[in-house]
């Protein structure tokens, strides 16, 4: 791409095309579809965190007059332990099935065991009480420390730690051990004048989307089955659901409803296969909607983690060695985001001597799901806290220290390749020069700064643009729009076609209408689906030129296209896009462009955050008084929604740092499964979140887009954590900084 592109539409703050429906209540979300003859499904969940299922007797529930069907694991048919692409990367089908409905063991409080479909939701709930499950209760293992101990109760007898030269012969709760290293870590520390080493803990936290998981499924023996659901990836829902029910992909249509938040948590299936299995048995459409407590106990949290970080530096601020250790909870089945944790931990730094070791550990909590830059916030929290302490120890400004060691183009990463063009230095400079950083800190307040790195991904996106005879068009994309991405798709297509964005209607098409598209996640949609949109729009332009050329009896190469008008360079004629579309009938049929791609070249997005907090010294309560989020967008297609991603990520991170955590009793039962006691930030908890958009273009995207959805959740943990410590003159090592923990730090050090 050229350095300074001139844009007609990109970079404007247009009104989003799906906005009207959303402010009027017309938009239909997961729970908003009802079908004729529809009945309701509800799920029986385990009261125990760890138990063998001795028997399940569903006969009484089946005999209930309002009940149409009861399903258990057996209704999934034969499921084998193969790997499929099930949303957030490869997943083991058997694990997926066992998470949807437990097989011979329940592995967490809230683990689904059976489901009932009945005439009303209340009748279905009543019938759940009639299912008789006999358990042999086992001791739960609730954190990595206990789970990794010799002799700990083992969740899976067939799990042997991967990642050692010799695979152990006894099963354990450690699924995987991973080590990455480069340079000479010992020599690096030997060179250091200052070494800081600390141990950290982060809690189990939930994505906290406001819309509970919901779906309506209709099984059709003639091959017209349909699932309507709120998901980040309806093609992946189709893959998983079809697999569990033994269907061909063509026989199941999945429709992505509007989605009320996901943040990674709606990348996997929970109820969808169950609802379709119920519908198959009942012969009726089945709706399933989770209660809020089910969302907390049985879906998505992200990993609680225990981490160690050790950083050495010379007096002049040169970082000489960085070492990390982490153990991430995977929940009931293997697959925590430990790997990206290892990969991202020290990536903001250009240091040659790095070593990181990570462990993926199963515990008796619900299986973790992706959460915004999965794995990175925990690891980078530990790293950034220690880097701040290094700066403090050598008496250097923390931004200067970071600038001195900042990762840049050519920096060797621990995971292999060298970085291409990145914008960390630009973000740090913007932070240093910001009004926030230059402002004096109020009395009794503390200030924290932290950086964050996330890869971003590309992947498969499929797009069609169907032109209408009046020159308007419909953009069909396969990536569910969670945060306003339809606006960006509209703008990018408009930029290529050089017509008003409002002439293009972007829709999220169902799985019957487009080839496979990867889900919305990894900050990929504006980047990858955007590239597919551009390709599809360029395809339209190509056809516009060809049609005009045919009319003018010239070659397509002799036709130019500018400002929405085809121009005959060999003559005088001009035709607007609308005129060419109008003539399509006579020039070979309607015009439609496609862009089916597997995008590569995703550009990492670095973020730098500044946080001021005030701490009540008598109660330990923390108030965020000022906050600034700075991030490299590559190119902001729609600046308002880019800022929105920065702000949303920042506030989720603030919540994680301050008050959000799962609380379990001794039996492994979650004690705060609701918004009352799982305390996400409120409007009254926060100041305005200031934003600075840095634009260092990603050369792999035609407009320079990087993707901005995830990096913003990484820096807040350390920015807040350091700020709190600064305000009370202590070192924070454990999140969240809830009032009792902060008061105890103040009083006991």
């Amino acid at each position: 791409m050229s350095e300074a592109q001139e844009f007609k539409y990109i970079g404007q703050r247009t009104i989003r095309p799906d906005g009207y429906d959303k402010v009027t209540g017309r938009a239909q979300y997961g729970a908003d579809l009802s079908l004729p003859g529809m009945i309701w499904g509800r799920t029986l969940r385990s009261p125990h965190a760890h138990a063998k299922i001795v028997s399940i007797d569903t006969s009484k529930a089946e005999a209930h007059p309002d009940v149409f069907a009861v399903v258990t694991f057996k209704d999934f048919g034969s499921v084998e332990g193969e790997s499929i692409n099930a949303g957030e990367g490869a997943a083991d089908v058997l694990d997926l099935a066992r998470n949807c409905l437990a097989d011979d063991k329940v592995l967490y409080h809230g683990h689904a065991i059976a489901a009932v479909a009945a005439r009303t939701e209340r009748a279905a709930d009543d019938a759940l009480d009639l299912i008789d499950v006999k358990y042999e209760v086992l001791s739960p293992v609730m954190d990595v420390e206990d789970a990794m101990k010799e002799g700990a109760p083992v969740l899976h007898e067939d799990m042997f730690t991967q990642g050692y030269e010799e695979t152990p012969s006894t099963p354990s709760n450690i699924a995987t051990r991973l080590e990455m290293k480069m340079g000479d870590i010992e020599a690096g520390f030997a060179e250091a004048d200052v070494i800081v080493e600390r141990e950290f803990r982060t809690p189990t936290a939930h994505q906290g989307y406001i819309e509970p998981h919901a779906c309506t499924a209709r099984y059709d023996e003639d091959g017209q089955s349909m699932v309507w659901c709120c998901t980040q990836g309806h093609f992946d829902v189709r893959t998983s659901t079809a697999k569990l029910l033994g269907l061909d992909l063509s026989k199941l249509k999945v429709v992505a409803s509007e989605i009320g938040g996901g943040f990674g948590g709606k990348t996997v299936v929970y109820q969808e296969p169950v609802a379709l299995a119920l519908s198959r048995k009942a012969g009726r459409p089945v709706k399933m909607v989770m209660n809020r407590d089910e969302v907390f106990i049985a879906t998505g949290p992200t990993s609680a983690a225990k981490l160690k970080a050790k950083v050495g530096a010379k007096k002049d601020g040169t970082i000489t060695a960085m070492q990390g250790w982490m153990a991430y909870e995977a929940g009931a089945f293997k697959g925590s985001p430990m790997m990206p944790g290892v990969m991202t931990m020290f990536t903001p730094y250009d240091c040659g001597n790095v070593q990181v070791e990570g462990f993926d550990v199963v515990v008796n909590k619900s299986k973790v799901a992706a959460y915004r830059a999965p794995g990175a916030p925990q690891a980078e929290f530990a790293a950034e806290m220690v880097v701040n302490e290094v700066a403090e120890k050598i008496g250097m400004d923390p931004i200067e220290l970071r600038l001195k060691n900042a990762a840049k183009e050519g920096t060797q990463t621990i995971y292999g390749p060298k970085l291409k063009t990145v914008g960390l230095i630009e973000c740090l400079e913007a932070a240093r020069d910001s009004d926030h950083y230059k402002s004096a800190l109020a009395d009794g307040c503390g200030r924290g700064i932290a950086a964050g790195f996330w890869f971003n991904i590309g992947g498969q996106s499929s797009v069609s643009i169907n032109m209408n005879t009046d020159g308007t068009g419909t953009i069909l994309e396969g990536s569910p729009d969670i945060g306003g991405s339809r606006a960006s798709m509209q703008m990018m297509a408009a930029e290529v076609l050089q017509i008003e964005p409002s002439n293009l209607k972007p829709i999220v098409a169902d799985t019957d209408s487009l080839p496979y598209s990867q889900g919305t996640g990894g900050s990929r949609v504006t980047f990858a689906t955007g590239m597919a949109v551009i390709e599809a729009a360029e395809d339209v332009v190509k056809q516009i030129k060809e049609r005009a050329a045919a009319i003018w009896n010239v070659t397509a190469e002799q036709v130019d296209y500018a400002d929405g008008v085809a121009i005959n360079t060999a003559g005088e004629e001009k035709m607007s896009l609308a005129e060419v579309c109008q003539a399509a009938e006579k020039t070979g049929g309607q015009i439609s462009g496609t862009g089916n791609i597997n995008a590569r070249g995703a550009g990492p997005s670095f973020a730098v955050h500044l946080c001021d907090t005030k701490v009540d010294q008598e109660t330990g309560k923390v108030d965020v008084v000022r906050y600034t989020a700075i991030q490299d967008a590559g190119k902001a297609i729609h600046p308002s929604y880019v800022e929105g991603q920065f702000q949303g990520g920042a506030v989720q991170g603030i919540g994680w740092a301050l008050n959000e955590e799962y609380i379990f009793n001794d039996d492994g039962v979650m004690e705060n499964p609701g918004f009352l006691d799982y305390r996400i930030p409120l409007a009254s908890d926060l100041p305005m979140i200031e934003t600075i958009i840095v634009e260092v273009p990603n050369s792999f995207h035609p407009y320079g887009v990087r993707g901005v959805g995830e990096s913003g959740i990484i820096p807040p943990l350390a920015a807040v954590g350091w700020s709190v410590g600064d305000a009370i003159d202590r070192k924070v090592e454990e999140l969240p900084c809830s009032p009792p923990r902060v008061l105890s730090l103040i009083q006991n050090g």
Binding site: R13, I15, R16, D18, G19, Y20, K22, V23, T24, G25, R26, A27, Q28, Y29, A31, D32, S34, R122, Q207, G208, Y209, I210, E211, P212, E258, I259, G260, G261, G262, F263, V289, N291, R292, I482, G483, G484, H638, S640, Y641, E643, G644, Q647, G648, A650, V651, Q652, G674, F675, L676, I680, P681, L682, A683, S684, D685, L686, M688, I689
Partner: protein, 159 residues
């Protein structure tokens, strides 16, 4: 148990329905009357997605029984704005990009309308506290508060 017959008014129109006396107003709105603009986020009054007005007071419809609407006036998101024109608050939410996923938006708009009817000139802090019961997980509230303050100003100018 027989269902109860309820006569009420929703968004100014007379409505009659049958409901189980244990059903919440939210159940009735969504499942009986297909007014699905009112969302359920928690069912316990902690998220505000189901905000409606009941005789002019802002309430969570998940904490009101359907039978309690007898003779009352209920206001939902479907009644905000005219058929062909958005309410200023709705326009400002769009203009300021005050929504991402949009599932909290109907509740926030109903609440903002109630706020500005009670207090046409709120401070930022008053707006933040009034709306504290409307959880939003996407935006960090910044753009919502800007939209609310701008809507308040525009409405004052128009009044």
């Amino acid at each position: 148990m027989a269902k109860s017959h309820v006569s009420t008014s929703i968004n100014g129109e007379p409505v009659e329905y049958l409901c189980d006396p244990g059903d919440t107003l939210l159940d009735v709105l969504r499942n009986e009357l297909q007014l699905t603009g009112t969302k359920e986020g928690c069912g316990s009054g902690d998220c505000g997605a189901c905000s409606v007005t009941l005789n002019g007071r802002l309430v969570c419809s998940c904490l009101v029984l359907g039978v309690e609407a007898e003779g009352a006036e209920v206001g939902t998101i479907e009644g905000v704005g005219a058929n062909d024109k958005l309410h200023v608050i709705q326009e400002k939410f769009l203009e300021h990009a005050a929504l991402q996923c949009g599932v909290c938006t109907p509740g926030l708009i109903v609440s903002t309308k109630a706020l500005l009817e009670e207090n046409p000139n709120p401070t930022e802090e008053e707006a933040r506290y009034y709306l504290a019961g409307n959880l939003c997980r996407c935006t960090g509230y910044d753009k919502i508060i800007r939209a609310v303050m701008d809507a308040a100003e525009t409405m004052r100018e128009g009044a």
